[in-house]
Symmetry: C2
């Protein structure tokens, strides 16, 4: 049960996650659901200890292993990704998005993630571009390398922050 009171959108996504886990024979327990909810509500990469703080408001006894174990599970299930450059975690919208026909994500390789990380506003947009995926697969094949988990992270400025910076060199982040 959701002690926190997530938004209805988040609750719908959590229900989808629950269904996904059921199909796979894994269990989205209350604790895992709670952590996933916090990640999704954040809407941007969020650190494990930030999650821990939030988790503690409704779960006094939570400790680092509490949140790391939940994150390990969610990573394994592909429900969240880790943004390595930020040591932070973000929800994967692939399985969870509202559209039933999918959202254009490629997750064929399963453990692959591609992010555009804005250093202006802290957003991280998952792209899962098939062309990048193909180029990387080809390069790996030429090297005789068998990829298991692939991380692509571009850090820079999103279109909004880029425009803001062009307008005012010392601009602050957009909403």
């Amino acid at each position: 049960m959701s002690v926190q009171g997530f938004s209805s959108r988040t609750d719908r996504m959590l229900d989808r996650a629950d269904a996904v886990c059921l199909r796979r024979g894994s269990r989205l327990t209350d604790l895992r659901r709670q952590v996933l909810g916090l990640v999704l509500e954040a809407g941007r990469p969020v650190g494990a200890y930030d999650l821990l703080d939030k988790l503690r408001t409704g779960h006094k006894t939570a400790a680092p292993p509490t949140v790391y174990r939940a994150l390990d599970f969610l990573l394994e299930e592909g429900l969240v990704h880790k943004v390595e450059r930020l040591s932070a975690f973000v929800g994967c919208l692939h399985e969870l998005c509202e559209e039933d026909d999918g959202c254009g994500h490629d997750h064929s390789g399963s453990h692959t993630a591609q992010f555009l990380i804005c250093s202006g506003c802290g957003s991280a947009t998952e792209i899962d571009d098939p062309s990048i995926h193909a180029s990387l697969a080809a390069a790996a094949r030429r090297a005789g390398f068998k990829p298991h988990k692939v991380t692509v992270e571009a850090e820079g400025l999103c279109s909004l922050c880029s425009a803001a910076t062009a307008a005012r060199p010392a601009a602050r982040a957009h909403g």
Copy 2:
């Protein structure tokens, strides 16, 4: 001066690094040269605290900031890369390799790195594939995103480890 006694190959690469810095108006100090030498000698990704231990054999007073400051400089100059997945550092062979005609690396974007990381033997091969670079640049452009620093990391099995694993399921790493 090299207290450690690096291999002659490493010393040649350090001399190249020195020349590169001179051209750019930056200074490869003794300390930075020492740290770069340790990274190059390792020949694989190496953690900051491993470097610190090695550094201390010829430099009793070294502390974490000592090595992190040197690494920051070397990263800035593009002489080393950070492998985010491993929180480890590895030399960039682009400026330093023996062949005068370059070694096929693309470093046009300057702050870009692409690695094939073997979880069997710990090797990390820099590929800098132009096709990956182009795909990513195209995807970023479509999103209105301006990349500043790009990280591509594929973790998996290199050809040697892959062969070893196929032969014996519980094989140990190759040399």
